[in-house]
Every structure is written in C-alpha cells, then in structure tokens.
C-alpha cells in the first residue's frame, strides 16, 4: 500500500468516526485541531484496527497527536507485520 493510499484510508476512518468532512482530515492537522479528545482517540484506534485488520499496541498509540503521526505509526506497524510474515 502506498503512503498516499494509506493516508487516504486513515483520513476516511477518522472522518467517519468523528462525523466530520473527509477533506478536513489532512496530514498536518493535529488531533487538537480536529477536536479529537482521548476517548475519541481510542475510538479511532478501534476503527483503524478494524479497517486494517491489525492490532495497535497501547505503547504505539500513546504518543500519537496528529494525523501524520498516525499514518507514519501505522506504516511502521504494518511494515513490521509484513516483514514478520515474510520471514
């Protein structure tokens, strides 16, 4: 999956969960910009796990404060998963 494809899918999940327009969810937005509080954040993690069929560990999720960090974190997580599957 390309970076932009992943970013688009993440934006879609966040928009759907937060009930906000998809175009408002851009990479440079922080969670604070998007009024995503801690409970919203956990709900988004749940939705992303569903979307990508992965498990996001608590420690990977804790520090994420922006859409970009979310996309990058997922890339790292899924890259790792892919590498494991390849091994």
């Amino acid at each position: 999956m390309s970076h932009s494809e992943l970013a688009a899918r993440v934006a879609k999940v966040i928009a759907k969960t937060q009930k906000i327009p998809e175009e408002s969810v851009t990479l440079e937005k922080t969670f604070a910009d998007l009024k995503i509080d801690s409970l919203d954040g956990i709900n988004i993690l749940f939705a992303l796990e569903e979307e990508f069929q992965i498990e996001i560990p608590d420690e990977a999720a804790e520090k994420i404060r922006s859409v970009r960090e979310m996309v990058e974190g997922l890339e790292k997580l899924m890259g790792g998963k892919a590498a494991q599957e390849g091994a």
Partner: protein, 408 residues
Amino acid sequence: MMERRVAVTGIGVVSAFGDTFGEFWKGVASGRSGIRPMTPAFRSALRFANAAEAAQFDARSHFEEKQIDYLDRFAQFAVVAAREAVKSSGLKISGELGRRTAVVTGSSAGGQGTEDQNFYNLYALKHTRFSPLIIPRVMGNAGASIISSEFGIGGPVYTVSTACSSANHAIGQAFWMVRSGVVDVALAGGSEAPFSMGLLKSWEALRVVSPDTCRPFSRDRRGLILGEGAGIVVLEALEAARARGAPVWGEIAGFGMSSDGHHLTQPLAEGAASAMRAALADAGIAPEAIGYINAHGTGTFSNDATECQAIREVFGAHAERLLVSSTKSMHGHALGAAGALEAAATLAALRSGTIPPTANFTSPDPACDLDVVPNHPRPAEIEWALSNSFAFGGLNAVLAFRSASAGR
C-alpha cells in the same frame, strides 16, 4: 440555619406521549393511554405485546451524529429532559451557580440496551472485538455526567439505582440538598430505556407483565406494562425562585424512605406505610392534609392491594376522602424513571386542578376500595399530594408535594 422551602421551577419529560412535558401532561391529564403494540421484533418473541415505548423519539433531532454514538438511549432521554427543564425554568446556570448546583438522576438498568446488543455480537455473532464506547455508554451515571458537562454544573453529581424507586430517591435527595442549603439548585429525576430483547425476556420470566394493558386497582388487573423515558425537574429555593420571577410549578415539601427488610419481590404494606409516614413527617403535615396520592399502582395483583392496605393504615378514615390514581396506566412503568414522570404528573395536577385518572379501569377490587379516579380526570383544587414509589427489593421512597398557589 433555617431550612428553605423548595420550588420546582422547570420540568422536562420524554415519554410515550412525546419528547416534551406539554405532550406528556396533555395525554395524562385527558386519561389517554400511551400504551401501544410494541416494536414488532419484540412482539413476536414475547408473551406480552404492548408497551409505552417512546417510539417517536428520534435522537437525530436532539443530538449531533457523533454524540449519538457516545450515548445510550437512556442517557439521551435524560439529557433531552434536562434541557427542557432548564429552559423552562429560565435559569442561567454558569460559573459560581454551576458549582452550587447538583444533578441527581435515577436509573434502574442504565445502558443495558448497549450491553445487550454488544453481548449478542460477542456470544451469538462471535465478534471478537469490542468498541471502546461500550463502557461509557453503559455506566448508570452517563446521563448525569453529560448533563453536568453540558450545563457547566460542578456541584454534587451522582446517580442512584434502586429499581423502581430510583427517581424518587434521586429527587428526594436533591430536595434535601436544596432545602438544607448544601446547594442552591438541583436537577433531579430519572431515565430508563428498557427495550432490549434480553431485558424484556427477563421481565417476561418474572410473570408480572400484563398480556394486554395496565389496569391498576381493577379486579381483573393482570400486571404492569413497561414504559420508557425520562423526567427531570429543576429545584431551587422558593424565595430565590420568587425573587427572580421564575415559574413555580409547585413545591417539594417532604421526602420519606424506608425498607421492607423482607423480600426480593414481595412487597410489605408496613414498609410502604412507613415511607408515607416519613414523607408526611418530613413535610411537617398531618395525614388529613393530603388530598391526592399518585400511587405506585403498577397494576400487579400484589402491589395494588398492598399499596391500598398501606394507604388505609396511614390515613385511617381520611383514606375515604383521598383521590388515588395510577398514571402508570397511561405512561407505563418506566422503572427508574417512574417517579420522575409521576412527579411531573403530580405537580401539573396540583397546578392545573385536574387530577389524572387511573386509565383502563374495568371493575372495582374489594382489596383496592379507594377512590382511584377511574378513567376520567377529576377537577379538584388540592394543596398537598404524595407520590409513591415502591421498588423490588422492598425499597420505598415517597415524595410530598404542595401546590404553588398555597401557603404564599
């Protein structure tokens, strides 16, 4: 410190009659029953077919889409009723007043509808993943907490759960807090949304739900009819309410509690009588002052006879002069919200001089030989009234009300 008199300055109701207090009172005051055939999915799987569901309630007309995901139906009801109550009171709650304001809600089952649906997903559909929103939706205090944050209320906020007495316990404690000066304002009441398959099957198993309708005090009564909704009242010191020119629906003047200490489901007249006596004593009035009792009146064989016996014990010869009606015959038994709906009905009855009837009444039962205001509303100017709630588990809570026009 001198105890204050406590006025009700705002009322909000969600019920089978609609999402407002006005629609509720219009239905109840005219003796019209809100009991109708249940949602078909429920009807086909149960031995009872009718209920007082708030079928008209559309969460989308009250909440933004995202908030609906975060709130169970029972909490939505509480918030909608609180908004109406606060709006009608004309009170602006913010800053220091917010810190001097309490919210006390009652609910028997909380967000059980959310639990029911998600546990079905787990056990039957074998879903392995659970939404993080389940816990905050299910918690019994969800309604109270959202009301607190929506109105900037920072005083005592909590929820009581005493089955069918929940709302009366909630209103009674809030009343005491305002009367004693612990807070200046309180939003109090209850909410319930019991219509999930799991809970309905549980009620069915108890064999207390009527197969047709709710006929309190009738010889051929066959049980209760489940209802849902919310009622919230705004309480404040009478003097302060008058000073700001607030609408005064009436006063809450007394609160009494007792426990049967007897049985999980079988009521005891002694316990009910003791709670009524405690409410009268708390209000500082003699039994003879009471003109109307909004009965617990569930329509079960056991409750109605026991309640009438308790009323006779407390009121003696004066029982003959009492008007006693059960509005559950119209708005159903809303469990943890019941006392709140009945407080709304009682306050409106005192203010309007119209006593709501016991609907669906057929023939008198010698075990319930009081004036139960059968089927037709009764004009009556009454100063003092009681509203009874007697819960499973033997927990009794009785409120005493005084009409707004009295005792100026």
